[in-house]
């Protein structure tokens, strides 16, 4: 007993924890050093190049407000691309999310296959999709819309199928027991439970699509990115800063609106 009472802990944490934390810290910072050397990007460089940054701020300001009139049509095109792509993506992803939910689709082959396909789709960056479709369909809004649809379906189906998997299955059973067919089960037992989340996710994907469609134009898929690309190539920085400020404002406004709507829904 006396031995135990005289025991003084060396520290709050056991030796093993300390060892693990130390090793992982060394690994994390070692890798950081390696990647800093490989990319020649030490944070110090940022301060070395600060004069550059300030010089650039001088280039960017004041924004060229006379350029605004040329921005509006392309901005609206961007918003239209996002609206159309989101709408079609939502319609497509409803059946697919039912197929990807393991409580609705009990066939594990279909379920696993769908998940595999979606996981692959989600790894492809949106801009690469746009590059491919611009190659196929030529420059213009259509390529952007198709790229965004595929991109959005990947996200939406994952989110929606997760919601479907968590629903209460008792209503489905009750409707089946009283003789409802598959379609009736879906429309009376599943839809009412998941509709608010579906709408909320659709708005969320719309936000993502707005951001994505702003930059799709960089590869020729329509929208404000095209303007941005041209103005950067011309080194017309005042116009670039006008575009960036407008993009910023639009993203903020749409995020706020969609955030308020989603708060009201869920």
């Amino acid at each position: 007993m006396s031995k135990e009472s005289s025991f003084v802990p060396k520290g709050l944490y056991p030796f093993k924890t300390k060892l693990i934390i130390t090793i992982s810290l060394i690994v994390v910072f070692g890798f950081y050093l390696l990647s800093s050397i490989k990319t020649e990007s030490f944070i110090v460089h940022f301060f070395v190049k600060l004069p550059n940054v300030f010089g650039l701020v001088g280039d960017f300001f004041p924004p060229d407000w006379s350029y605004v009139n040329q921005v509006w049509p392309k901005l609206f095109e961007t918003i239209h691309i996002a609206i159309i792509a989101t709408t079609i993506a939502v319609i497509i992803s409803i059946p697919f999310s039912l197929l990807t939910a393991n409580n609705v689709t009990t066939n594990s082959w279909i379920y696993q296959g769908m998940r595999l396909i979606l996981n692959i789709i989600r790894t492809i960056p949106d801009i690469i999709l746009a590059v491919v479709f611009v190659g196929l369909f030529g420059i213009g809004a259509f390529s952007g819309i198709i790229a965004l649809i595929i991109f959005a379906v990947g996200i939406l189906v994952k989110l929606m199928s997760e919601v479907i998997e968590t629903i209460d299955m008792n209503p489905t059973e009750a409707i089946r027991a009283s003789g409802g067919n598959g379609l009736q089960t879906i429309s009376f037992a599943i839809v009412p439970q998941v509709l608010p989340q579906f709408i909320s996710f659709s708005l969320y994907v719309f936000e993502i699509n707005i951001r994505a469609s702003l930059v799709l134009g960089l590869v020729g898929a329509g929208g404000i990115g095209q303007l941005l690309n041209t103005q950067i190539n011309f080194m017309n920085y005042p116009a670039v800063s006008t575009i960036i400020i407008i993009v910023f404002a639009v993203v903020v406004v749409i995020d706020i609106i969609s955030g308020k709507l989603r708060e009201g829904l869920v």
Partner: protein, 267 residues
Amino acid sequence: MAEQLTLPEKPKSKLTLVKRIFIFIIIALIYIWTFTSIEIRWDNIFSERTLANIDRIIPKFFQPAVEETGSIMEKMFETLFIAYTGSLAAAIIAIPLAFLCASNMVRNKFLNNIGMWILGAVRAFPEIVLAIIFVAAVGPNPFAGVLAIAIGSTGMLGKLYSEVIESIDMNVIEALEASGANKLQILFYGIFPQVLPEFMSYAIYRFEIDVRASSVLGIVGAGGIGTLITFAYMNRNWEEVGMILLVIIITVTIIDQISGFIRKRLV
């Protein structure tokens, strides 16, 4: 008196009806505006040329340029390095900002709001726009990509971190305060043990996103595999685009699996 059984009237408020009609009209107007003003040249899209393109390009994706693997892998590693450096920097920069935003740490509504505004403003910039700005500032090199990723990730990580901080158990801190711990001790023994696992989990999650994001930054000249995409695309070298796509898909899948595994162990 004959008792007549009637169901209670359905609660129907005029206001909700008006509201619904109003919302419906707004949505309808938005769609009308969209579909009437969007310019899609259908004759260009459904033309012989598109069919020829599809015939020509799609098969090439399925015979990727395997001989380019070396140079593509090299750029992919650069992409990973950019994502890693950027997200680690963001994971550290976000901590003080998160404390500023957390209302149980800084008991000043004004400062909280300032923190929130900074994070919100940063989040509103798409990474590629940040990359454009930094390419103009520090030149077309991976460093611009690192900066873009670091700044872009700070917005999201700061917000998630501050939510974690706000949900911690304050009793522990009170106990520490009562036994005479100073601010630094409270931070190290009261707050960090509670938040670090979740901080790390979010940072790793953000790294996943950053790998995807940094693979396209090269399109604006900020280093990584995106540079190759631009070249391959401009030369209409679809075999190479196919190979790049394959490399990205495999790498991102592997990273997702690893990070998912680590995150499961952490929380």
